[in-house]
């Protein structure tokens, strides 16, 4: 199939539909709305359910119900809407049914704004809903990658009976760029044994997240954690750019990773041996490759469109063995490649330290700039 110029939100919607999405439930919120709008036209056109819910609470619980039938289902939203969905996500995780969530992140906290941001990292990667559970989190950096990861998201959700979140930001969602959409896949015909459908005279199936007996709940928790260990073992994805001979390594995901790549290329032209590690799975986090890079690199620069949320995961791997610096923009401000290049040069020029916290040093510098 040929490439076409397509908006990120629309591309993800169409990719989901072609991957066999059987039902979509959502609620309008900028900068995600085109995803819902596209499916509002396309799903009925091919005879599949689309419901614009009364709220994000409604949408995620419709997903929960439909996910209990074992069908491919998804919802999408943006930061404040995803906050409302946290209740349902915890229940879905507690019931061990597969579902896909797209979060097109915007500036916050609160109502914030509708500009691109990455402030939902902690909410999506480190929980947000109550109880012990993880989301498997995919973070594309282009429209094409968003398309490719959408089909993967459904496969992973079903393989592990897990929630898979696609963490976009407003710029990937809103940006138009050439992408190749996959061909239409047939709907899956096999229904998992655990899925409710009516007993038809057989044994009844009950799907619930309640477990009043603490030891029984703990057994369930253990099962979830073992599954997560399996996911950590099998599903780590990342992309390394110029990292083989890199003395300095930038770490960034999504749009921040993409902007950093421009800066890394510019630095390479200046003769700086710098590379980029772009995690594609934020959870599971690519710890092993980062650990290997820690042995070789002189220093790290973490770049995010938030106040350093992934930074903490990087620091947990590097463990003070090498200096880590941070550069971020918050509140929907998107950094320029030149800003990142300046930070790379700062890394090279030094002085570097493993003392203190990189966020504190960054905040001091940022306060001087934006006051």
């Amino acid at each position: 199939m040929a490439k076409e110029l397509i908006k990120g939100n629309t591309a993800v919607a169409e990719a989901a539909l072609r991957a066999g999405l059987e039902a979509y439930f959502g609620y309008p919120i900028t900068p995600q709305t085109e995803l819902l709008e596209h499916l509002s036209a396309r799903m009925p056109e091919i005879g599949r359910p689309f419901v614009q819910a009364e709220s994000e609470l409604g949408a995620i619980n419709m997903v929960y119900g439909a996910a209990c039938t074992g069908k491919r289902v998804m919802t999408s939203s943006s930061s404040p809407g995803v906050s409302l969905m946290m209740e349902g996500l915890s229940y879905i995780a507690g019931t061990e049914v597969p579902a896909v969530l797209v979060d097109v992140v915007r500036g916050g906290p609160g109502l914030g704004n509708i500009a691109p941001a990455q402030g939902d990292y902690n909410q999506i990667v480190h929980g947000g809903g109550h109880g012990d559970y993880h989301l498997l989190v995919l973070a594309p950096a282009s429209v094409q990658e968003a398309v490719d990861l959408t089909a993967l998201a459904f496969d992973l959700a079903e393989k592990y009976r897990h929630i898979v979140a696609i963490l976009l930001d407003g710029s990937i969602g809103q940006m138009m760029e050439p992408a190749e959409l996959p061909p239409m896949q047939p709907l899956k015909t096999d229904i998992p044994d655990w899925a409710v459908r009516g007993t038809d005279g057989g044994e009844k199936r009950v799907l619930t997240s309640i477990n009043l007996d603490p030891p029984a709940q703990e057994v369930m928790n253990l099962r979830l954690m073992k599954r997560w260990q399996e996911i950590e073992k099998n599903e780590v994805r990342y992309k390394g750019y110029y990292i083989d001979d890199a003395e300095y390594v930038v770490v960034g995901f999504g749009t921040a990773g993409r902007i950093s790549l421009s800066a890394v290329r510019a630095a390479r032209e200046l003769g700086i041996k710098v590379g980029l590690l772009r995690p594609i799975t934020l959870a599971p986090f690519p710890k092993d490759v980062l650990d290997e890079l820690t042995k070789k690199a002189k220093a790290f620069l973490v770049v995010e469109m938030n106040s350093g949320q992934m930074l903490e995961d990087v620091r947990l791997v590097v463990r003070g063995r090498k200096p880590v610096e941070f550069f971020g923009r918050m509140g929907g401000v998107v950094p320029y490649p030149d800003e990142v290049l300046t930070e790379i040069k700062r890394l090279v020029d030094g002085p570097l330290t493993t003392e203190g916290h990189p966020r504190d040093r960054w905040l001091t510098r940022l306060s001087e700039t934006i006051g």
Partner: protein, 259 residues
């Protein structure tokens, strides 16, 4: 003793749709009656094996233990949304929610109004016992003016704590609602009427006529501090004046249904 060859005739037995289990409900509570009526109706309609139930949060959180039916368990108030998700992917299955008053009329008001306004083709069995039963008898959206509960210890003061919600009346104003009625479980006569209404509510779904809800006034002797008989009287004397029984919405298509 005279032995006869006349075979015993079964006049009363456990419906297939009910599992042979003892419930956790308090003596004198009418949850068990409501469960049985639903089970009888589904058996009579031949829908038991074709049904998916959605349990809610409250005393009936374990309703799925008592039905021999595929079941899911919703978050507090969200049962109509879950039922929507199931019904939309399985339009040929019977899908029902079983919700109490705290669940449906307080925390779940958004979901129930959304489902009703969309004309979602589901059946809702709504248990109104004028308090939060599972958590020990707090004030519910249905608690009557002056009624004492553990969170309105001097009686519900409408000036500070507002007024009870008449759910059937409220939902009957929505165009998507096809069948909205209130019945009671406090006497055998009313129980028979309740069963007819439950049957109609499931037939409405089977015929794809829209959203159907049966509100059932129910006893809660434990939290009301009454005997089983006293609780039945309390429905008659206290609840009926504020929650009149009746048909609040019967769409023209439903009125033409022959059962």
């Amino acid at each position: 003793m005279v032995m006869t060859d006349v075979p015993a005739k079964i006049v009363y037995e456990r419906p297939e749709a009910l599992d042979p289990r003892v419930t956790h409900y308090c003596p004198g509570c009418t949850h068990g009656v409501a469960h049985r009526l639903i089970a009888e109706v589904l058996d009579e309609m031949g829908e038991t094996g074709n049904t998916i139930g959605v349990a809610s949060v409250g005393c009936s959180v374990f309703a799925y233990n008592y039905f021999n039916i595929d079941f899911v368990e919703a978050a507090h108030g969200r049962a109509p949304a879950m039922a929507t998700g199931i019904k939309r992917v399985y339009p040929d299955r019977t899908v029902f929610t079983y919700q109490g008053d705290g669940d449906l009329a307080s925390i779940g008001m958004g979901e129930i109004v959304g489902a009703a306004s969309r004309g979602e083709k589901i059946t809702v069995i709504f248990i109104n016992n004028a308090n939060y039963g599972m958590t020990g008898g707090q004030m519910a959206p249905t608690t009557l003016p002056g009624q004492k509960t553990t969170s309105s210890p001097t009686g519900r003061d409408t000036d500070r704590q507002g007024f009870p919600i008449q759910t059937a009346e409220l939902l009957s104003t929505l165009e998507g609602s096809a069948y909205i009625v209130r019945r009671s479980l406090h006497s055998s006569r009313e129980i028979r009427r309740a069963k007819k209404a439950i049957r109609t509510a499931f037939e409405v779904q089977k015929h794809g006529l829209g959203f159907a809800l049966v509100e059932l006034l129910s006893t809660c002797p434990t939290n009301w501090g009454l005997t089983a008989a006293g609780a039945r009287d309390w429905i008659e004397e206290r609840m009926l004046p504020f929650y009149p029984l009746g048909d609040y919405k019967v769409s023209s298509a439903v009125a033409e249904l022959k059962i």
